[in-house]
């Protein structure tokens, strides 16, 4: 026999009851209606009188709680609807007419409600082997999903995007940037034309990728982004005036940068990044959702760390693409190391590098990577 609370369907009235399983039926007795209960347990009669009065006032919908009807209520399994067992929570059992019985869990009641083995999910939540398996599998699967699964799915996703969409995206992005942070280039026309000629011959040598005709180089001035270059998904590549000035217009060094950016385009990195950010955001919010306050803001940091890792991976791929292509063109990969070194000298306030919080890998490592390629040549 278990103590419980019987709630009415139409208001917040409560009746203290006892519940037991007799002849495979759930039997509910009013706590003061049963002589045996009264003798065994300490009952505060005043409390029950209040309950009895309150419920009696409610009229016809009440068939338990009034002092006249002390007959126990009997329910078959088909009459009741219980929420699955969860931890050591009191069982919530919905009776006909939306009344609710809440009582502490007991093995007998659990068995009657859930059948012999109990509900499957609650079994998993309480059994040691499942616990151990989960503790081991969760980190492993998360690792596989984030390190293997998402990049793989991102590549698949990116390859589905038609060129027209990428072209549209690039046009919109460039005009938004032109409106906000970029200004027309102030480099002399002649210098730009000469650089373009050099770039053209590089692009011609990068063959077999099917993107040669899409590469279009632009020059822009910008106070905000400094010496920099970036690629848009359709093959538009933008150099800032500051970058050209930084390397004194050295064609070989700019070619190395161009190849790096072509690497991003050839490997569809922009579109992959969209997919990876989307997947990572969704996964983190659905797997670890319903977190609050400080923990949530911490998960926000976690999400950007994950995205930075993906971005760094893309940078490595683009670096290696550039190094490979330089070798194929019989040129020195040290050019790439040189231009990286120049960039890092220029922006050495960024020396505070912690690879977790940056979208680009550590410059030092990138220089070493390019130099090691040059050394073996």
């Amino acid at each position: 026999m278990i103590h419980g609370q019987l709630y009415q369907s139409n208001d917040s009235a409560v009746t203290l009851v006892t519940a037991s399983i007799e002849d495979d039926a759930l039997v509910i007795r009013l706590l003061n209606g049963d002589k045996r209960v009264k003798d065994e347990r300490c009952v505060t009669t005043s409390q029950l009188e209040i309950d009895a009065n309150v419920t009696a006032d409610k009229g016809e919908s009440v068939d338990i709680g009034s002092s006249e009807s002390n007959e126990p209520l009997r329910f078959q399994q088909s009459d009741v609807n219980a929420k699955s067992k969860l931890g050591n929570l009191p069982r919530e059992i919905t009776l006909p007419n939306d009344r609710l019985l809440v009582c502490s869990p007991s093995p007998l009641l659990d068995q009657w409600l859930d059948g012999g083995a109990g509900s499957r999910i609650s079994q998993m939540e309480t059994k040691k082997p499942w616990l151990i398996a989960s503790v081991l599998l969760v980190p492993l699967l998360l690792y596989v999903i984030f390190v293997q699964g998402m990049p793989w799915a991102a590549v698949k996703f990116a390859n589905q995007i038609p060129y027209s969409i990428k072209s549209l995206a690039s046009q919109h992005t460039l005009s938004a940037l032109d409106y906000s942070m970029l200004e027309p280039s102030t480099l002399p026309n002649l210098q730009r034309e000469q650089l373009m000629v050099g770039f053209d011959s590089v692009v011609k040598q990068v063959s077999g990728l099917g993107i040669e005709n899409n590469i279009r180089v632009h020059f822009r001035d910008s106070n905000l982004i400094g010496p920099n270059a970036f690629a848009l998904p359709d093959g538009t590549i933008v150099f800032t005036d500051d970058l050209v000035t930084l390397v004194d217009g050295d064609q070989a060094l700019l070619d190395a940068i161009l190849l790096h950016e072509i690497g991003h385009v050839a490997q569809n990195h922009s579109m992959q990044m969209v997919a990876e950010s989307l997947f990572a955001t969704l996964a983190i919010s659905y797997f670890f959702g319903d977190l609050s306050g400080a923990i949530e803001s911490f998960m926000g940091i976690g999400s950007s760390v994950v995205q930075n890792q993906y971005s760094q991976k893309h940078e490595w791929q683009a670096d290696n693409f550039a190094i490979e292509q330089l070798k194929l063109m019989q040129r020195d990969p040290a050019d790439f190391a040189d231009v990286m070194r120049k960039l890092s000298n220029e922006t050495d306030q960024q020396g505070a590098e912690n690879s977790w919080f940056q979208s680009h890998p550590l410059t030092k490592a990138r220089i070493e990577n390019a130099e090691s390629a040059a050394y073996h040549d």
């Binding site: 009235a13 309480t126 499942w130 989307l278 969704l282």
Partner: protein
């Protein structure tokens, strides 16, 4: 087992001791008797003279104090850990589909273990409802995400549209979470309309921008007032009377703390680190780290200050007339300690401490919350709200516009 314990000879301390140790599921009637006797000790007039107006804060003179006690939370970290990790495994294996079931089980665990006056809360949402909502939300979120990647301009337009839609989302989200909360087999309800939400969530914050945010604390007060006033337990609405002064105090204090932390931090760095940094080959990482640490300390203290003050203020000044009154005594430093140690534990445990942190927080807030139950508690009428339209509401909660009080 003794058949009768005579509590009438107990002193107040002994009664409290007995109440704190009794298993109220095993012996609900004893727990209730103890509580009544405690209340009689603490509020002699209130319980002896029925229907008197001794409860100064209650507008209705007929309400009588039945019991007064802390919210108790019965959850255990070890029990919840295995629920959490198994549900996480199932969510991962099913590529997120099971997360709807996991959400229901997590919420059921926390609601069902929260106990006011011997009665547990219940979480009533159906996992399929939530799954439908999540699928819609994922589609909307993905299309928003991809669209803004394709065209930053379209993305910006959508952000603006979403901002204007925020009040609708908040109303839908509040309706869903209130309706899915039950206590004594009576559901909560949110009555707020879109118009009122638009005023407090869009118009007032924009207006306050034009006053250099000087009006912002007042706007924040209006938001909280709206959220509480439009909530109801069954057919009885919450009422609240918040003071603008408290919001200014909390906001100015929060800003002051940030300023103070940075001033102290800057002078410590200026005097203490300067020589150290010069001797290091590359001092920049140290500066970055120090700045990050300062930011975290400032954020932890100032947000805890605001949360504690405002939560306490809202609880003290809100009630369900004739049914319940509330009290909250969250301390600022205990809250800072709770949050800081939670984050540290989660980082050091690589996330495995998340369930422990959640259980611990629930204990903390339950412990700081006191509810006075009035005589109207037994006769709150249920309102049949039906179950239609929940999908849109659940979808709305996923755009991170969930609002929470304290």
């Amino acid at each position: 087992m003794s058949s009768n314990i005579d509590y009438s000879t107990y002193s107040l301390e002994e009664l409290k001791q007995a109440r704190a140790t009794i298993d109220e599921i095993e012996h609900p009637e004893r727990a209730q008797e103890l509580e009544e006797r405690i209340v009689k000790f603490e509020l002699p007039e209130a319980s002896s003279t029925e229907a008197s107006s001794t409860i100064a804060t209650s507008p209705v003179a007929t309400a009588r104090v039945l019991r007064k006690g802390k919210v108790s939370f019965h959850g255990k970290a070890s029990e919840f850990f295995s629920i959490w990790i198994v549900n996480l495994l199932l969510s991962i294996v099913t590529l997120g589909i099971y997360s709807a079931w996991a959400k229901v089980r997590t919420n059921r665990y926390f609601y069902g273990n929260t106990d006011i006056d011997g009665h547990r809360f219940s979480y009533l949402a159906n996992p399929l409802q939530i799954l439908k909502g999540r699928i819609i939300a994922v589609c909307l979120f993905a299309s928003y995400f991809i669209l803004s990647a394709v065209s930053p301009i379209a993305g910006a337009v959508m952000v603006l549209a979403l901002m204007l839609l925020t009040p609708f989302m908040i109303v839908l989200g509040q309706r869903f979470s209130m309706r899915m909360t039950g206590y004594r087999n009576v559901r909560f309800k949110f009555n707020g309309g879109f118009g009122g939400a638009f005023v407090v969530f869009v118009v007032l914050p924009i207006v306050s921008m034009f006053t250099l945010y000087l009006m912002l604390p007042w706007a924040l007060k209006k938001i909280d007032e709206y959220l509480v006033d439009e909530s109801a337990f069954g057919d009885i609405r919450f009422t609240t009377k918040l003071s603008t002064g408290s919001y200014y105090l909390a906001s100015l204090g929060a800003v002051g703390i940030v300023v103070a932390v940075f001033i102290v931090g800057a002078s410590v760095m200026g005097f203490g680190f300067s020589s150290l940094i010069e001797t290091l080959e590359n001092g920049a990482p140290l500066v970055m780290l120090a700045l990050l640490g300062m930011y975290l300390i400032a954020f932890a203290i100032s947000s805890s200050f605001y949360t504690a003050l405002i939560r306490n203020h809202i609880y003290e000044n809100s009630e369900i007339p004739n049914v319940a009154q509330f009290n909250s005594n969250v301390g600022v430093m205990p809250l800072v300690w709770l949050r800081t140690t939670n984050v540290i534990a989660i980082v050091l445990s690589l996330g495995f401490a998340i369930p422990w942190a959640k259980i611990r927080s629930a204990h903390f807030f339950a412990n700081a919350t006191e509810v006075t139950v009035l005589s109207g508690i037994d006769s709150v009428t249920s309102v049949n709200t039906g179950s239609v339209g929940a999908t849109a509401e659940e979808a709305a909660t996923l755009f991170d516009v969930d609002v929470a009080l304290g």
